[in-house]
């Protein structure tokens, strides 16, 4: 079974820790990797791609030293490997213009404003990972515990998988 990663790009250590803590359960099937800058994220993505694994969702801060989050997401959206990867902007400070750009050019999946509630970020992760698995036609059963029951339920009801 190929791994599906959750990627968190964030330059503030406390925020990064909060994401890892709130999504710790998911690591049972979705390993979490972290990067502190756009460049680090790019290297990390390249190494995951090389292993033949997937990146299901990226949680990305906007204001970071170096390249900002929206630019990184737009760039990743233009690459085949990360086109279907679900993109979530995690920020308190993205202006309207940047946000619009993220929605239009990176098909932003969700916008989480800081601070968030644990339940909310978990729900976002479930939804986004479900959408990714459906888009990439990955066999979903091993991941069900951390997927959205309604999204997956409807897809399976409509014939995604049969008895075996």
């Amino acid at each position: 079974m190929n791994k599906i990663y959750i990627l968190s790009v964030e330059d503030e250590v406390e925020v990064q820790d909060a994401i890892i803590r709130d999504l710790a359960d998911f690591e049972e099937v979705f390993p979490i990797e972290t990067a502190a800058s756009a460049q680090e994220a790019r290297d990390l993505i390249a190494s995951i791609e090389k292993k033949g694994d997937y990146i299901g969702v990226i949680f990305c801060d906007h204001i970071m030293t170096g390249q900002n989050g929206v630019d990184l997401l737009v760039e990743l959206h233009r690459k085949d490997y990360t086109r279907e990867t679900r993109k979530v902007l995690v920020t308190a400070h993205a202006g309207l213009e940047d946000t619009v750009e993220a929605v239009n050019k990176a098909e932003l999946g969700h916008y989480i404003s800081k601070p968030w509630k644990k339940d909310d970020i978990q729900k976002v992760a479930r939804t986004q990972l479900s959408e990714y698995i459906l888009a990439k036609k990955i066999p979903p059963l091993p991941y069900m515990k951390y997927l959205d029951p309604i999204i997956m339920g409807e897809a399976i009801r409509e014939g995604l998988i049969g008895d075996r």
Binding site: G153, A155, R157, G159
Partner: protein, 471 residues
């Protein structure tokens, strides 16, 4: 990149194919050795899942055509040793055998039901009958899930039911064990209910297809007479067990379920065709039209009316049909010697017929907890049949009953999330830990096991056709 486990599976599969062909095996003709090689290869690939299980099925058919048919690349006058290779079409025919057509008919009904919301509306209608008392709601969930999964795939039914029970679960207190009970009722109902009709789940088809190969036809209604009573009893016991293992705190459940029946002309046509097909299936004793002929009623009419479109066809689980077809085809060449050879490895006469049935059922149960139910049935049913035909277990061994017991036991296997798709789907509620599943899974397994042996010994013999006279 392939994982090491997959690579090992592939290497072993190639060895499994080649060794019996290259090494002379006592008691097998050359064709029998080829057939044994194909069986080993298929079993290894199916168990290791080095490649998707349905693709193994297609490889089986291809190898049978290439190596065992009248167009064989290996067989010639010099090495036939009395074996008469069948026309190569024999193996292709398994892809359109009557049991596959029957299943295709089931796919049409299920797809149309989903498209027009018949599955959800029937569920709501049934659930309403059970009122709002917690314990009754659990029973209602078990029964409505089982009823639907008798006609739709267990997997699709479980997925649909999960969307129905989520609001119920959300309304319960976080520490109420009833949440687990409600969530577990879905896979229990789906797995058990699949046994009830020939089209309920693929292992039933594997049993019926293998028996039909031997000239034993069990009609749709006949299967239901065998299966429905045991399904009802196991469901009832499962219900009590769910309430004991996960005792409800809330005594009442808020069920705000509204049905919204689709009344468009195509939806109404769907209801009529669905009802008529099921009616014709369950009354086949009266009119005598075989179930696979009835199955073409939805196939033809729903295509003509545009209820099922080209786009809908693409959503069918064709992989399930190919998986079954390969299993049926493998069963054919198992009779060229391999089944008898495998059975010959053990002296069965020391066990006696009843113990052998118990053993087959037990192996089926354990295997199918870990691998595909269909594959477990595919491997074991031809062996059960040959045990009877060859007389290796004595003349009183009823291989028809043994096959049915195996077919049911693979469906009663639900110990782990990986055991069946409905189990995996139930995990998405977030309510269930593996230990919860194993607890109720043991009950279903043990009760299903004891009952299928008891029914097999005392009840089913009155419903099944007599054993064909040997020779």
């Amino acid at each position: 990149m392939q994982s090491p486990k997959k690579i090992i599976g592939m290497v072993l599969a190639v060895l499994g194919l080649l060794i019996p062909i290259l090494i002379d095996i006592n008691g097998l003709t050359y064709a029998g050795e080829i057939a044994l090689g194909i069986f080993f290869m298929a079993a290894i690939l199916w168990i290791s899942e080095a490649v998707p299980i349905w693709s193994t099925s297609l490889l089986v058919i291809f190898l049978q055509v290439l190596l065992l048919s009248n167009k064989s690349l290996l067989l010639n006058e010099g090495n036939l040793e009395g074996f008469a290779p069948p026309p190569y079409q024999t193996f292709y025919n398994s892809m359109a055998s009557t049991i596959i057509i029957l299943f295709l008919g089931g796919f049409y009904l299920a797809a149309a039901a989903v498209k027009y919301g018949l599955d959800k509306n029937l569920t709501r209608m049934m659930l309403k009958l059970f009122g709002t008392r917690s314990s009754n709601v659990v029973l209602g969930l078990l029964i409505s899930t089982a009823t639907l999964s008798a006609f739709m795939s267990n997997t699709a039914t479980a997925a649909m039911m999960i969307t129905v029970v989520l609001p119920i679960i959300a309304n319960l207190k976080a520490d109420d064990p009833l949440r687990i009970g409600v969530a577990m009722a879905i896979p229990c109902g789906a797995n058990i209910g699949g046994i009830a009709t020939p089209i309920g789940t693929p292992p039933n088809a594997v049993v019926l297809g293998a028996l039909a190969e031997q000239g034993v036809t069990i009609s749709f209604a006949q299967w239901m007479m065998i299966a429905v009573p045991i399904v009802v009893v196991v469901l009832f016991i499962t219900w009590r067990a769910l309430l004991i293992i996960f005792p409800p705190q809330s005594k009442q459940l808020d069920l705000s379920i509204e049905s919204g029946w689709n009344t468009s002309p195509l939806a109404i046509a769907t209801y009529i065709i669905f009802g008529l097909t099921v009616l014709l299936w369950v009354t086949d004793k009266i009119h005598g039209i075989s179930s696979s002929i009835v199955a073409f009623l939805p196939i033809a009419s729903m295509s003509l009316l545009g209820i099922i479109t080209k786009g809908d066809l693409k959503t069918f689980s064709w992989d399930v049909l190919w998986l079954m077809a390969g299993g049926l085809s493998l069963g054919i060449s198992m009779r060229y010697g391999p089944a008898e050879w495998l059975i010959g490895l053990v002296d069965w006469t020391m066990f006696g017929p009843v113990i052998v049935v118990c053993l087959l059922g037990f192996i089926g149960y354990i295997l199918s907890n870990l691998i595909s139910n269909t594959v477990a049935a595919t491997i074991l049913v031809p062996i059960a049949i040959t045990m009877g035909m060859s007389g290796a277990v004595g003349q009183t061994f009823n291989w028809i009953l043994a096959s049915i017991v195996v077919g049911m036991m693979v469906s009663f296997s639900m110990l782990l999330p990986i055991s069946t798709p409905p189990n995996a789907i139930a995990m998405s509620t977030g309510m269930i830990e593996t230990k919860h599943m194993t607890r109720i899974g043991v009950v279903v397994g043990v009760v299903g096991y004891l009952l299928s042996i008891l029914f097999g010994l005392f009840v089913w013999k009155h419903f099944i056709p007599p054993l064909p006279v040997a020779g």
